[in-house]
């Protein structure tokens, strides 16, 4: 990562590495996609309440790292590719790691966009962007390999440049794309390029796919060494600690014994103290109320 690219990254929260894959590598990966196309699963629409992003459910291709050899190899090669390592060492710091994924998006013409999500505010420390003494620190970076071209205004990854530094919440019109004030842009990328973006720190999503050729983006979700983005099965106390340590613990004690976990869906309990000084599990309605209050504020 050179000084120019680092400047762009710090300023915008995303950067495109051009022409990383050769034509042969692109063709080989695409052939494997065709071979496994019967395993594609179509999910629900990711447009939620947006008119602009409306469309059909999003198709995904699961498990590419687990394909039998040699079919997994082109995708495993992406995992620790020189173009990725040289940049993530700067973006996340040495010792970056794959947090989850890869998530393979294989949209077809008419597939819905994805409402914009992530932002500098509210602050999420595990994925936030900070800068100190000449060094950038990003908790989470998503690396999106492109196997097909994404043409201007024809759909695909979209973002709000510089939103990783926002101190105010994203307005509803930007989230839905219905009144975005012109702040959402779509980087134009070609097959073989990679998009690096500050997933969650940056406001990002996707425009509906309008091309006859499908969208083919493979998203590897990296994190810095000590940051956790995903929901992982290992967080449960009985898995994370030796059993004799937690045997006989109360529910309140167990609540602080979970391993690290992003807890997007509130599966992990959190504690609160009542007015009379009693510690108890925070009720899900209270958690949701707190989240709603933050969203509306």
């Amino acid at each position: 990562m050179d000084a120019r690219e680092r400047y762009f990254w710090d300023l915008n929260g995303y950067v495109v590495a051009k022409g990383v894959m050769t034509a042969d590598e692109i063709a080989e990966a695409n052939e494997i996609v065709e071979k496994y196309s019967h395993t594609i699963r179509v999910g629900g629409s990711t447009a939620r309440d947006s008119k602009t992003f409306a469309g059909t459910g999003r198709p995904m291709l699961p498990g590419v790292l687990e394909y039998p050899q040699p079919d997994c190899l082109p995708f495993r090669k992406m995992l620790a590719h020189a173009a990725v390592v040289s940049r993530l060492k700067v973006m996340c710091g040495p010792g970056f790691r794959l947090d989850h994924g890869p998530m393979f998006i294989v949209s077809v013409k008419g597939t819905a966009g994805h409402t914009m999500h992530g932002n500098g505010e509210p602050h999420r420390p595990h994925v936030a962007y900070t800068h100190q003494n000449g060094m950038p620190y990003t908790g989470g970076v998503t690396v999106a390999w492109q196997l097909h071209d994404c043409k201007p205004a024809m759909g695909g990854f979209a973002c709000v440049p510089a939103s990783h530094k926002a101190n105010f919440r994203m307005p509803r019109g930007v989230r839905t794309g219905d009144n975005d004030m012109g702040v959402i842009m779509q980087p134009v990328v070609e097959a073989g390029d990679i998009v690096f973006f500050m997933d969650s720190a940056q406001s990002h999503g996707a425009w509906p796919w309008k091309l006859d050729t499908g969208r083919r983006s493979i998203l590897f979700k990296y994190a810095s060494r000590t940051s956790v983005r995903s929901s992982h099965g290992l967080a449960e106390p009985r898995t994370y600690w030796d059993e004799h340590l937690i045997d006989g613990m109360t529910d309140e004690q167990l609540a602080v014994m979970y391993g690290p976990y992003s807890n997007h869906r509130g599966e992990v309990p959190s504690l609160d103290v009542s007015e009379d000084g009693e510690v108890g599990i925070e009720h899900k309605d209270d958690v949701n109320g707190r989240r709603e209050k933050r969203r509306v504020a």
Partner: protein, 269 residues
């Protein structure tokens, strides 16, 4: 803690003194003249929470005491968790200090302190319960107030305490008091213990929900952290990015040479 609770904790320690190990003299003072002394007695790991009942009860109670929960919800955010510990730190007259460590710079994102839009965010907070009296200036926990916001590395004279120019303080505390500090973000350590009575502190190392400090070692290696199908036959460079989260878990890091070849970084380089 009430006096009864302090007594229960001290009684539990007295019953398990065979588990207390003394470290090497001056291993923790690391080149400091001011902090020199005898090896520090301690009981590491998670032993205090899994000693037999009823002795473990008081340490489990400290884990989610209202005084802790109320403060950590603000400091770390709801959903804070125990990262590692609790660690028992003892001291007898003449026990060495611990050279100061941690600071706002270099920035360590997992334990860094931030503030945005009215909320503080701390990756790691250590909660230190006192079972005996700590007299100001007579040894025990010492820190550099304000250092979690420092943009410069602490000078050697500060970390050794040999020439700290008043930057380092050592607060007093009574048995039953709790000290909360930004372990890793704040420059902190210990002054040598000068009292006739023992030092007895129990340190719980908490983290925010998505930060990892020293914990998680047992689940971090790729073969445990991921399903076999995902990591089977991966090469060393690919496995290097498949380690679970953790500080000091033994995960290698990668580098790219001028020819574009990715390899495991030599740790001594």
């Amino acid at each position: 803690m009430t006096q009864k609770e302090v007594d229960a904790a001290n009684n539990a320690i007295d019953t398990h003194t065979d588990r207390i190990k003394s470290g090497e003299a001056n291993r923790l003072s690391r080149g400091s003249k001011s902090l020199q002394g005898l090896g520090r007695p301690s009981m590491g790991g998670t032993q205090l929470m899994n000693i037999e009942k009823p002795h473990c009860d008081i340490f489990r109670r400290m884990l989610v005491h209202p005084a802790i929960v109320r403060r950590l919800r603000v400091m770390c955010g709801p959903g804070f968790r125990l990262d590692h510990g609790p660690q028992f730190i003892g001291g007898v007259k003449g026990t060495s200090g611990h050279r100061l460590h941690g600071s706002g710079a270099p920035h360590k994102p997992n334990v860094g302190y931030h503030h945005q839009s009215g909320d503080p965010y701390v990756g790691g907070v250590t909660v230190s319960w006192q079972l005996t009296e700590v007299i100001e200036g007579r040894g025990g926990f010492a820190c550099v107030p304000g250092s979690h916001k420092s943009d410069f590395n602490p000078p050697e004279g500060v970390t050794t305490c040999d020439d700290h120019r008043g930057a380092v303080i050592q607060p007093g505390a009574q048995p039953g008091d709790v000290v909360f500090f930004m372990d890793g973000a704040q420059t902190h350590g210990t002054f040598p213990w000068l009292n006739d009575h023992e030092r007895r502190s129990i340190l719980y190392k908490f983290a925010s929900r998505t930060a990892v400090r020293g914990g998680g070692r047992t689940v971090a290696s790729p073969d445990i952290f991921w399903d076999d199908d995902v990591v089977d036959d991966m090469d060393d460079e690919q496995l290097a990015v498949m380690w679970g989260p953790g500080s000091g878990v033994g995960a290698p890091s990668l580098e790219v040479d001028d020819t574009g070849t990715v390899s495991i970084k030599n740790r001594s380089a």
